[in-house]
């Protein structure tokens, strides 16, 4: 008996303890002197401010429009540790306004700064007149304020409510931010009428992740026109979802990362179903099949490309003149749209009150408008063309399975001609037919057609091939001369084309010459395939230089092609390495030994591998009498590398840089 009692006491203790840890005892406006002493390992020399608590909740509430509204409440408490943390006292709240002028409302903004003066807490409150409003864009307003009387050591406390009629806009929650956070909590209460898909991401673990069920009554009021208003209540099962993260470190940026937003710990919501009592279930998110079907029936997407678009007849006749087959016609249409239209932004559908004809006249539009126009023009010529939606690298990953349209921000075209598939983007000047910009290679994309299919665009699918040949011979007069030829990868070619659109060839080669220093003279500069966007660019020029007549000459045969800096600078890394493509670079040098000299020392030939088969570097040099041959090759077989591989890849590049800096030593023949 005694033993049983003791056991239950232990159990009760545990439960109490669990409860104590699961709820943070904190209230807006209530603060004790002891709260200024923050004991946490996260308070170190790298923290400018620390979020003591960030607590949010979303609840549904009946409104007087006969519907339910979303009530989002937030309470955030931050301790400012030093001057660089003052920015934490600037608060910006974004609110949505619909085209018809309905807006999310910000209510009950309260903010206070606490300063510890001696053993007294001094409070300074925010005055409502110091809250500023700014119309940022058509559908976005921000409210901004800063807390008063902020000093090093201040604690700031603020709370606000957003009242929203837009149930598709259930506020997401970021557990991680610029400052470390001791306690981040979000609770969402969803009545059975609505189904949301929860999307959580990030590497931080939840302290609490719980769902409980209860029942709640909602009171609604409907005032419809002149009729008397009607009040009613409905009771519904409500699921309460609560997430807590404790001791979340601050987010940190790194180079060679697609976007930091892929790595932030957050939870997002997508409305999937509405299920009102006595009404049929409305599928909001639906399946890809359903979503595609709807998109295809939509005036802002499918309808304009399904139409005949007879207004294009005359224009297309001119554009496709003398085309001998469909491929040629498609290429001409693509070039026409690419060369005449300007992309003004991203998007996945046509803006309100805009037709393809408007876009055609305006010669500008978002990426969806331009590529949907391209699709309409291709279809006009009976060429099979479908829209493909995707999320660009900067926008983070789209969901691989669910049709979460909000995650997509870009639209390209898939054309099938003579059973070959081509992906086209006419929104970028000088992009070749069949190429997509590198930022499109960000995982799963979707073809929006009657049979919607997934397409994967992975950075690993791209390979930048670069080949350089350097020939150096003794000049008939004094010194050395030779030829330089390099064929660039497709993306580097695009970069060069963009550069040369704003400067001329002469200036470009002058710049190349300047890069070598005064010893080198460059002549006969030539650029091949500059205007043939489907081909890589080849650069050629002749060189003339003097090595002087010292007894010993040191010479790097790779000239300016040697990699001089390790691209992976920082010693350690938090996130994986994500490069835009794989690459394969080869440099071949064929050189005559300078007249009157002999080779005294050659760099050693060497070959190293990166993780067995993920990359390779070789430097092979041979001397046959008066001739030196060098072949230097750098291959990176993968675009993405795990965080654990960072040190290996940094060392690999460190070796490349070291090896490519080596010199040949020539000595005067006696």
């Amino acid at each position: 008996m005694l033993r049983i009692l003791a056991l239950s006491a232990v159990v009760i203790c545990c439960i109490n303890q669990l409860k104590a840890q699961d709820k943070l005892n904190i209230k807006y406006g209530k603060l004790a002197v002891a709260d200024f002493a923050v004991a946490s390992a996260l308070v170190d020399s790298n923290a400018n401010a620390i979020v003591l608590a960030d607590i949010g909740s979303t609840e549904f509430q009946g409104n007087n429009k006969g519907r339910l509204s979303l009530i989002f409440k937030r309470h955030k408490r931050i301790k400012i540790l030093n001057k660089n943390g003052f920015d934490a006292a600037k608060v910006e709240i974004s609110l949505y306004i619909s085209n018809s002028g309905d807006e999310e409302k910000l209510d009950d903004v309260k903010a206070v700064t606490y300063n510890l003066e001696g053993d007294k807490i001094v409070e300074t409150k925010l005055e409502t007149k110091n809250i500023f409003k700014e119309q940022v864009r058509k559908n976005i307003v921000t409210k901004k304020f800063t807390l008063p009387a902020v000093k090093e050591g201040s604690i700031i406390d603020y709370t606000y409510t957003i009242n929203s009629d837009f149930i598709f806009n259930l506020q997401p929650w970021e557990f991680q931010g610029e400052y470390p956070c001791l306690w981040s909590e979000y609770e969402v209460n969803i009545p059975e009428f609505y189904n949301y898909v929860f999307l959580s991401q990030g590497s931080q673990a939840f302290h609490t992740n719980k769902t409980t069920n209860s029942s709640t009554s909602y009171h609604l009021n409907s005032a419809s026109g002149a009729e008397r208003s009607e009040s009613f209540s409905i009771t519904a099962n409500v699921s309460t979802n609560r997430w807590v993260m404790k001791d979340v470190p601050a987010l940190k940026n790194e180079s060679f990362i697609t976007t930091l937003s892929n790595h932030i710990s957050k939870i997002d919501f997508q409305l999937s179903q509405i299920n009102y009592p006595n009404q049929p279930v409305q599928n909001i998110m639906g399946t890809w099949g359903k979503v595609s079907e709807e998109r295809l029936k939509d005036e802002s997407f499918g309808v304009p490309i399904e139409r005949g678009n007879g207004w294009l007849d005359d224009e297309i006749k001119i554009i496709t003149k003398n085309s001998s087959n469909k491929l040629e016609a498609a290429q001409k249409i693509y070039a026409y749209v690419r060369d005449n239209f300007t992309r003004t932004g991203n998007g996945t559908y046509i803006s309100d009150n805009t037709s393809l004809k408007d876009i055609f006249k305006k010669r500008s539009g978002n990426i969806a408008e331009i590529n949907l126009l391209l699709i309409a023009m291709l279809r006009h010529e009976k060429i099979e063309a479908e829209p493909v939606i995707l999320s660009t690298r900067g926008n983070g990953f789209a969901h691989a399975i669910y049709p979460l349209m909000g995650k997509f921000n870009y639209l390209v075209c898939q054309a099938v001609i003579d059973s070959s598939r081509y992906y086209l983007d006419a929104g970028l000047p000088r992009l070749g037919f069949g190429m997509l910009p590198e930022y499109c290679y960000n995982g799963r994309a979707r073809i929006i057609s009657t049979v919607p299919a997934a397409v994967d665009f992975e950075a690993d699918m791209l390979l930048e091939n670069k080949a350089t040949t350097i020939i150096i011979v003794n000049s008939a007069q004094k010194g050395m001369e030779g030829g330089f030829t390099t064929t660039l990868g497709m993306y580097e070619s695009l970069e060069l084309r963009n550069k040369l659109a704003k400067t001329n060839k002469e200036d470009y080669f002058k710049e190349v010459e300047k890069g070598y220093g005064n010893e080198m003279k460059i002549t006969n500069g030539e650029i091949d395939s500059l205007k043939i966007y489907e081909q890589p660019v080849t650069l050629k020029y002749d060189m003339k230089f003097d090595l002087g007549d010292d007894d010993v000459i040191y010479f790097n045969p790779l000239l300016n092609e040697a990699t001089k800096q390790n691209p992976f600078k920082s010693m350690s890394r938090l996130y994986p390495v994500e490069m835009p493509y794989r690459f394969n670079e080869t440099i071949n040098v064929n050189m005559e030994v300078p007249k009157g000299y002999k080779v005294d020392e050659l760099p050693k030939s060497t070959r190293v591998k990166l993780n067995e088969d993920e990359g390779m570097f070789e430097y092979i040099v041979k001397n046959n009498g008066d001739n030196i041959q060098l072949r230097c090759r750098l291959v990176l077989g993968k675009a993405n590398y795990a965080t654990e591989d960072y040190q290996t890849i940094r060392d690999f590049f460190g070796f490349v840089v070291k090896k490519q800096a080596e010199q040949i030593v020539f000595k005067k023949a006696k």
């Binding site: 300074t124 008063p148 000093k151 704003k502 002058k510 005064n518 010993v552 040191y554 760099p603 080596e662």
Partner: protein
């Protein structure tokens, strides 16, 4: 019947307009098109000053865009706020032949808030329009009418704003009431044509058939080599405040009106000021004590609404909210100084790196920043009130080396902020390094920075976390691969501040080791990157603005058993362009290099360009010079 005829007439008019070619490109003379990305076909700015509180500005222009680099001139953008209203925007796009293609539609004009990345709130917004045309060449024509309330700021005329453009015609006209005195300043002999009637006076300027000068590195300010007409009011009014800016004295008197009554402190702050200063005998100490209090108890928050762009918040607002912008914080500082019985002043200034461009003989609104000053003769103290860390008395590159306007009870006076010469901007560095037999380098670096050269390190100390600082240091240096393993900073806060930096760095493979040789670049950290291309004849003077002095003393220990095979020559240059020397000493396996480089702000004629270029090329090469050691046999 009448209405039908009118209708027909309108029809004919529009037909007539559409068939008449405007601005065909072939009429541009080759000489003007040759090196241009854009040609101003016509441009006309007319300012009608109605009275001191009102003016109308009409701008009409047609620019031909010849290529993609000219696109930056193809769009329309203008701003508006409480004192500036855009009444209308119209425009037309023409193709190369001069055929009208389309017109500005109201719904295509974008309206956006100005985000200066700095302000919590501003009321400035912009209107933006773009035809997004891509068939070069083409011509855009825009016309806009702007109304300004209060003629505090009047537009200037810069018909040649950039290189690689040409101007066929640009006109600038100002109409004033007959009894109004307009002030203007022109360069390059651009006198106005003045016409008077009983009610009006008209000033006009015109520029024809001009090719923009080429952009040259280290050249003079653009305003010195292109036509500029500056304009300013005499009497003006803004938001109910009247003033005159015919002299700086009067300009300052107007500012006094805006500042009047803004310096009242709450009793608690008055008491605090006395607590801080009563025990101190020396005024300089009192200033420092108050400045320190300001830095500990305020922060910078920019709010620019209406007259708030020029008028500070009340000192009592800053005292309770503990924030303000540059004007508000300077004003608060001056108010606290006054309470302590010390005369301080607000100083209006143009802040920016190496910007000494105040036109002192033309009183007008030339400022973007405010600081405070305590005139104590040669001990005058200058105070940057928006910074929580800057040293009392130090201005540095943002506000030093320039003229500014001090406001006192009588009005405004032009003053000079401190000038920092090369001996104030020092970088004195000692390097002790060891290179092992594989070429790996380990080095201790001790550096003393002063004046403008300590600014970066001051901000590394105060504006970054240790992690950010380490990360920065680990990416900044031009070593191929390296790790900073130790960092330490100490600071001495004088009016000429100093920072002492201690670093330890490991750089694998810094030296190249081959079978029998060792290649080392002994100048590890301080390599000049200035290179001047000499492919074109220099047209304008050469001007260097920054000045500093660097001394590097480098000791490198190498493995035993090597003897030098190739050694750079010592260099000593002391000429009109600066001082530079490198001195090598090799003893057994110890290398010593002393590098001294001193640069002064100076100006040289265009004819000296080849010599200046050669001087910098010598430094460029000497800084990268290599020592080659070979294994002793």
């Amino acid at each position: 019947m009448v209405s039908t005829r009118l209708f027909l007439l309108i029809c004919f008019c529009s037909v007539y307009i559409t068939v008449t070619a405007q601005y065909p490109v072939f009429t541009i003379p080759d000489s003007l098109a040759k090196s241009a990305n854009m040609v101003k076909r016509t441009e006309e700015t007319t300012i009608e000053i109605k009275n001191i509180g009102k003016a109308r500005i009409l701008i009409k222009y047609a620019y031909t865009i010849l290529n993609e680099a000219g696109d930056r001139f193809a769009y329309f953008i203008d701003y508006y706020d409480r004192f500036r209203q855009i009444n209308s925007i119209t425009g037309t796009l023409y193709d190369a032949l001069g055929t009208k293609i389309k017109q500005v539609k109201k719904k295509d004009i974008e309206d956006e808030a100005v985000d200066d990345n700095m302000s919590l709130a501003t009321d400035s917004r912009t209107k933006y329009h773009n035809f997004y045309y891509k068939k070069y060449p083409y011509t855009v024509e825009y016309e806009t009418e702007i109304e300004i309330s209060g003629i505090f700021d009047l537009p200037d005329w810069r018909p040649v704003p950039r290189h690689n453009i040409s101007v066929i015609n640009s006109k600038f006209t100002i109409v004033t009431p007959a009894d109004y005195t307009l002030r203007y300043k022109y360069n390059q002999g651009f006198k106005p044509v003045i016409n008077s009637t009983a009610s009006n006076k008209t000033y006009s300027w015109e520029l024809k058939n001009t090719i923009a000068p080429e952009l040259e590195i280290y050249g003079p300010d653009w305003d010195e080599i292109t036509p500029v007409v500056l304009t300013a009011p005499t009497d003006f009014e803004i938001d109910g405040y009247k003033g005159s800016m015919d002299t700086w004295l009067h300009f300052g008197q107007f500012m006094n009106k805006l500042y009047a009554g803004k310096d009242v402190l709450p009793p608690a702050i008055k008491q605090k000021v006395h607590e801080l200063t009563n025990g101190l005998a020396d005024n300089k100490e009192k200033v420092k004590a108050i400045y320190n209090f300001l830095q500990q108890n305020t922060r910078y928050i920019s709010i620019q609404l209406g007259i708030g762009g020029w008028q500070p918040f009340d000192a009592s607002f800053v005292a309770t909210k503990k924030y303000g912008d540059c004007k508000a914080l300077s004003n608060y500082m001056v108010a606290m100084l006054k309470e302590a019985g010390i005369k301080g002043n607000t100083v209006l200034i143009y802040g920016g790196d190496e910007e000494d461009n105040m036109i002192t003989d033309f009183p007008s609104n030339q400022f973007n920043h405010a600081i405070a000053c305590v005139p104590l003769g040669k001990d005058t103290i200058w105070l940057e009130c928006t910074s929580q860390t800057k040293q009392a008395g130090f201005m540095g590159s943002f506000t030093g080396n320039r003229k500014a306007l001090l406001i006192n009870d009588e009005g405004g006076y032009v003053v000079s902020t401190p000038y920092y010469k090369s001996n104030s901007n020092l970088q004195l560095r000692k390097i002790e390094a060891v290179i092992d037999e594989n070429g790996n380098l380990i080095t201790d670096i001790n550096t003393r920075f002063t004046g403008e050269q300590q600014e970066l390190h001051h901000s590394l100390i105060h504006s970054s976390t240790k992690e950010q600082r380490d990360k920065y240091l680990n990416t900044r240096l031009s070593l191929p691969t390296y790790t900073v393993t130790k960092t330490d900073y100490t600071e001495i806060n004088n009016s000429l501040p100093e920072v002492y930096e201690t670093l330890k760095i490991e750089a694998p493979n810094y030296a190249t080791v081959t079978g029998k040789r060792l290649f080392i670049v002994p100048n590890i950290f301080n390599k000049s990157s200035t290179r001047l291309a000499q492919d074109k004849e220099r047209k304008n003077i050469i001007r260097f603005k920054s000045c500093y002095k660097d001394v590097d003393t480098i000791n490198i220990k190498i493995p035993a058993g090597y003897k030098p095979e190739s050694l750079p020559k010592n260099i000593e240059i002391n000429n009109a362009y600066g001082k530079y020397s490198t001195t090598y000493n090799i003893k057994d396996n110890d290398i010593t290099l002393i590098r001294i480089h001193e640069k002064n702000a100076a100006q040289y004629p265009a004819s000296a360009f080849a010599e200046v270029a050669a001087y910098y090329e010598t430094i460029y090469k000497a800084d990268r010079a290599k020592i080659v050691f070979v294994k002793a046999e």
